[in-house]
Symmetry: C2
Subunit: 193 residues, 2 copies
């Protein structure tokens, strides 16, 4: 695997930390400890990445390949991402505490501008057999798939090449109108993407 440069690492910390926050809220809403545990895994991954980034940045500064100002910017951005990842872990902790969550608290998370949803893809759905890239779900419905379960296998932060199959369970977030659209597509009530 090609060694990642500092900018790529910062980007990865940014994207992963934001995914972690979404996964953590989803885990609470759907009382899903598997997702909550994944947030813990990702936090370890972010910690390692952050360590590598700091080391590489210092080495590049030493070699004169990176200015002090640029190094400071990269470190500050990475640190912010690391802090967001920590916050995500705090949220996942709520799910892992094994305390029944009050319905009003769940409702209050759910009533955000951006809602979380979970839907199973039925065999008659137009989504079956297509990749997220082909479907352009995010731009056509506003719904971003943050995780999915295919049989016993989980996939977190799927990409354009990820294929949706009948029976898959999608965890997504987006605007309320988008939620209805995604549910109708997944259940086969509409074929219009």
């Amino acid at each position: 695997m090609k060694k990642k440069n500092a900018e790529e690492m910062v980007l990865e910390i940014k994207d992963k930390s934001e995914l972690m926050v979404d996964l953590a809220y989803s885990s609470i809403l759907y009382d899903n400890k598997t997702i909550a545990k994944e947030v813990y895994e990702l936090e370890n991954f972010i910690d390692a990445l952050y360590h590598n980034l700091q080391k590489d940045t210092l080495e590049e500064v030493k070699k004169g390949k990176l200015s002090v100002d640029d190094a400071l910017t990269l470190m500050k951005l990475a640190q912010a991402g690391e802090q967001i990842a920590d916050a995500a872990q705090e949220i996942a902790d709520v799910e892992l505490r094994d305390v029944e969550l009050h319905p009003i608290i769940k409702m209050s998370i759910r009533e955000s501008d951006v809602v979380f949803t979970k839907v199973q893809v039925e065999s008659k759905s137009i989504l079956c057999g297509k990749t997220l890239g082909q479907l352009k779900l995010a731009s056509e419905t506003g719904m971003l798939v943050i995780a999915m379960r295919h049989k016993d296998r989980w996939l977190y932060g799927p990409n354009k090449k990820t294929r949706i199959n009948s029976g898959d369970i999608l965890f997504a977030k987006g605007p309320e109108d988008g939620e209805k659209h995604l549910i109708n597509l997944a259940t086969g009530k509409t074929n219009e993407i």
Copy 2:
């Protein structure tokens, strides 16, 4: 104004802190100190809200209106939001540091799964005179408007009732396909939402 209850405060901290992160990245990408300063304003707001939440939660526990478990959950969720708001401030700091940002660093933020965009609405655009609620921009294009400038007035985290006018500058985030669609709509290249 109706006094907010603890759940509503937690929801507000959640939504505002996530908006702050988006605003902070936008401020860096578009070298916009006005937006970066707004992140600072919002951080003060979040701090006050967090303080009120803690106080109210403790009082409700004392009165027996809230269980210790529920109070702990609310406090943990609010704390995570507060931590995300702090991280957003760190990101905004990068913009306010008055150091020219390296293009590669900007590009790396921009190349995320979710892109940030900025576009001015032209007079021939179908968006003119309509509210965000009417347009359903978020579900139809995947693009979430996080801030807009109307003449000299700024609006952060617009809602469904926010009306778009000719000349407004929209700051939005969403998938890459959605960006093209939004730009085409704002510049009048297409009328199909």
